[in-house]
């Protein structure tokens, strides 16, 4: 019933005399027929300084996030920090060289972190086992992932609702949300004085579906102390 009603309204809105009123009515009906479990409930939280990089301001469950550029590791940790702080577990697959102190400074809760270091041949099965059991999976492969494995992992993610963050090399079948650090400049260090304090980066976003719209963000990553920080409030 409600659907038919909505369609009728939509048809004669085009050249009706009271367009604004009818549009308001249409919105009301659309609101009424919307599913009860909204897509925004199937999301994980994102760190406040990074929300504009994600469509809807939150991390949709079941997506692959690709991060690249100089500073990709930092960005991956910052993305993982949001859900981790909210109680999710994080798993690094292959990232035994990721600085744990840095992970902690970025906001990843180390008590809820697993680091798995499988042989290249055991990678797909290890990632598949983690999907559904931990919410955030950060991978940093040193070998090429096969396209078939990537597809299988992608469909399992959509089914089980975990999020995979792939550092560095391009996700073979194209990431749902792709974030690249295109420019970075360190602050706090001079020539022979100071110390590394924070890094001002420009992140370019792309991806598929709702994330396809190009977007860009300037942010301090790492900010003072490690966690990402909006640029304006520091300057």
């Amino acid at each position: 019933m409600a659907h038919r009603h909505a369609r009728n309204l939509a048809v004669d809105t085009l050249d009706g005399p009271h367009q604004a009123v009818r549009r308001a009515q249409l919105e009301l009906v659309a609101d009424r027929v919307a599913p009860l479990a909204l897509a925004r409930e199937q999301t994980l939280p994102v760190h406040g300084a990074l929300t504009s990089l994600f469509p809807g301001g939150a991390l949709r469950r079941g997506v692959v996030v690709g991060v690249g550029g100089v500073g990709a590791t930092s960005l991956a940790l910052a993305v993982a920090a949001g859900p981790s702080a909210a109680g999710s577990w994080t798993a690094f697959v292959g990232g035994t060289d990721i600085g744990l102190a840095a992970a902690g400074e970025h906001g990843v809760v180390l008590e809820r972190l697993l680091v798995v270091d499988p042989e290249p041949s055991a990678w797909p099965s290890a990632v598949a086992a983690l999907i559904g059991a931990v919410d955030m999976i950060v991978i940093s492969p040193r070998h090429r992932l096969r396209e078939t494995d990537a597809r299988r992992i992608g469909s399992r993610l959509r089914e089980r609702g975990s999020v995979l963050v792939s550092i560095g090399s391009q996700w073979p079948v194209g990431a749902d949300v792709q974030l690249d650090v295109v420019e970075s400049r360190w602050c706090g260090i001079g020539i022979g004085h100071g110390v590394l304090q924070s890094r001002k980066v420009t992140i370019a976003g792309g991806g598929r579906g709702a994330a396809a719209q190009p977007r860009s963000l300037d942010v301090l990553l790492p900010g003072p102390g490690g966690a990402p920080h909006p640029v304006a409030t520091v300057d």
Partner: protein, 518 residues
């Protein structure tokens, strides 16, 4: 006071191991969530007992073979063993795979006494078990005492009516399997069930609540819960027709899951919950199989679906004699023992949550799949290098639940450590580089901790990079008193023109990149 129901419990020792199919005299264990849940006699001879961590068990017995728990297989293999009791009584209750119970009053009248029933049950079960393990039978007032009698039986033990309290009195209080309660009782000096039973029931209820009251009743040889006068009305059972008849288990389990949901809704509406549920399956030719399943907590819909799967798996894939001749046409769930639902409180702050349990299960699974040294967790250790204050250790060596990495006040400050942000990538294999000044000479650090000239270029694997910012050097002179362990270093933070930041360390005249900020 109403005496508990005479109950016969049949127990097959080491059933989880029998299900794996390994001979029991070899040292082998079954682990679940990284804990030993069953150890073979061969393993027990080496001191491997239930509750040990996997790594501890391996330390005590290096040639131990380790198997993961497969509850579905345990239940499937147990079904034919239980099926032989169907001729004795129609109401056999599977407490868990390996242990089953039946109310012995009716059968013992028919067969002429508890001893006769116990002999008959043991003979029939032993035939099916076929020497894979023993069958022990205990008969007592109430299932708790009967199970303890079965565990101590050789191989049959029948306690005369009314002697249950006497039998339980010298037993260890830990047998109640309520660690929180027995911990307190132990500190009060109460170590046996008899001593606990002597406490006044009203005081136990006042101090320890419903749970304490239940434990006290068990220790006194009574039923755990006061018998509820309410009989479950017939319409609390839920059933579903399956059309066309299903010959595959997963279809039946799927239907069972949805009716389990319905059952919980109905029970929940009336504020009750069931601790025992009967699962009745019927085939198109009128064959029927009913089993009762008990659960300590509340049976969730997933748990009910699991039990349906186990029960039917054993039936449909059983021997030709007991296997049904047609597909399954209907399935029903019959709530049997009802208690008032008091609710279960999960941890609010801290404690174990569902999320933690899932992560711990996957950690245990990956350890089995990939080896224990590939699944790691962070651990704190001191170091003068901020980024080395945390290290990775195998997850098997720690308890994952409720960990805290905060070193607390135990650690003193580490002078000379660099402030945050810490480098995001540590080079496991430090790369040798050349740090050069404007004129191309290699930079040195003087004995007083000063650079010979400002760094201007960096050569990494043959590539020249321009240094756009630098800071340091921060010298470290560790253990200068020890010729072998001493470590004398100078550290520099370098930023190259392409925006990369590196930590370079000079030691013994060689510059190396040890970490970078990616």
């Amino acid at each position: 006071m109403i005496a508990p129901v005479r109950t016969l419990v049949a127990w097959c020792p080491d059933w989880p191991l029998v299900a794996t199919g390994v001979p029991l005299d070899e040292p082998s264990v079954v682990v679940f969530a990284n804990r030993v849940i069953a150890a073979s006699p061969g393993a027990r001879a080496h001191g491997v007992v239930r509750g040990l961590r996997r790594r501890m068990a391996q330390a005590r017995c290096p040639e131990l073979s380790i198997h993961d728990r497969d509850e579905a297989k345990e239940a499937r293999l147990f079904e034919p063993v239980v099926a032989v009791l169907d001729d004795i009584t129609p109401r056999v209750e599977v407490t868990r795979p390996g242990t089953c119970a039946l109310v012995s009053r009716g059968p013992s009248r028919y067969f002429g006494g508890d001893d006769a029933v116990a002999d008959l049950a043991r003979a029939r079960m032993a035939e099916v078990v076929g020497g894979r393990t023993d069958v022990r039978i205990g008969v007592a007032d109430g299932p708790f005492a009967a199970e303890l009698a079965a565990r101590g039986a050789a191989p049959i033990r029948v306690l005369p009516p009314g002697t249950t309290a006497e039998f339980l009195a010298p037993m260890n209080i830990d047998l109640l399997d309520r660690p929180d309660l027995t911990g307190v009782l132990r500190r009060l000096g109460i170590t046996t069930l008899g001593a606990f039973a002597q406490l006044p029931a009203n005081d136990v209820l006042a101090r320890f609540g419903r749970e304490g009251q239940g434990a006290h009743r068990l220790a006194s040889g009574l039923e755990e819960r006061l018998p509820d006068a309410r009989r479950p009305p017939a319409d609390w059972s839920v059933s579903a027709e399956i059309d066309p008849p299903a010959d595959r288990i997963d279809r039946v389990a799927f239907v069972a899951r949805s009716i389990a949901d319905e059952l919980h809704r109905r029970l929940g509406r009336d504020g009750v919950t069931c601790v025992r549920v009967g699962i009745r399956a019927e085939t198109e030719h009128g064959e029927e199989l009913i089993r009762f399943w008990r659960h300590e907590g509340m049976l969730s819909d997933a748990a009910v679906a699991d039990r349906v799967r186990w029960q039917l798996d054993g039936w449909l894939n059983g021997s030709a004699v007991t296997r049904p001749s047609g597909g399954i046409t209907s399935i029903a769930l019959v709530p049997d023992e009802l208690i008032a639902a008091t609710g279960r409180q999960l941890g609010f702050w801290g404690g174990e949550t569902e999320v933690d349990q899932r992560a711990m299960r996957v950690a245990a699974r990956l350890q089995g799949q990939l080896g224990t040294e590939t699944v790691l967790v962070p651990e704190f250790r001191g170091s003068r290098h901020a980024h080395e204050q945390l290290t990775l250790i195998p997850a098997v060596t720690v308890e994952l639940a409720g960990r805290s990495l905060d070193p607390g006040e135990e650690t003193a400050p580490w002078p000379g450590s660099l402030p945050a942000p810490s480098p995001t990538r540590l080079l496991l294999d430090p790369v040798v580089v050349e740090v050069l000044d404007e004129s191309g000479a290699v930079i040195e650090v003087t004995g007083r901790g000063l650079l010979s000239a400002p760094p201007a270029r960096l050569i990494v694997k043959g590539q020249r990079k321009v240094v756009s910012g630098w800071s340091g050097p921060w010298p470290i002179d560790e253990r200068w008193w020890d010729v072998e362990a001493q470590c004398r270093q100078a550290r520099l933070q370098l930023v190259t023109a392409d925006g990369r930041a590196l930590l370079v360390v000079l030691e013994a005249g060689v510059w190396r990149v040890t970490a970078r900020w990616d």
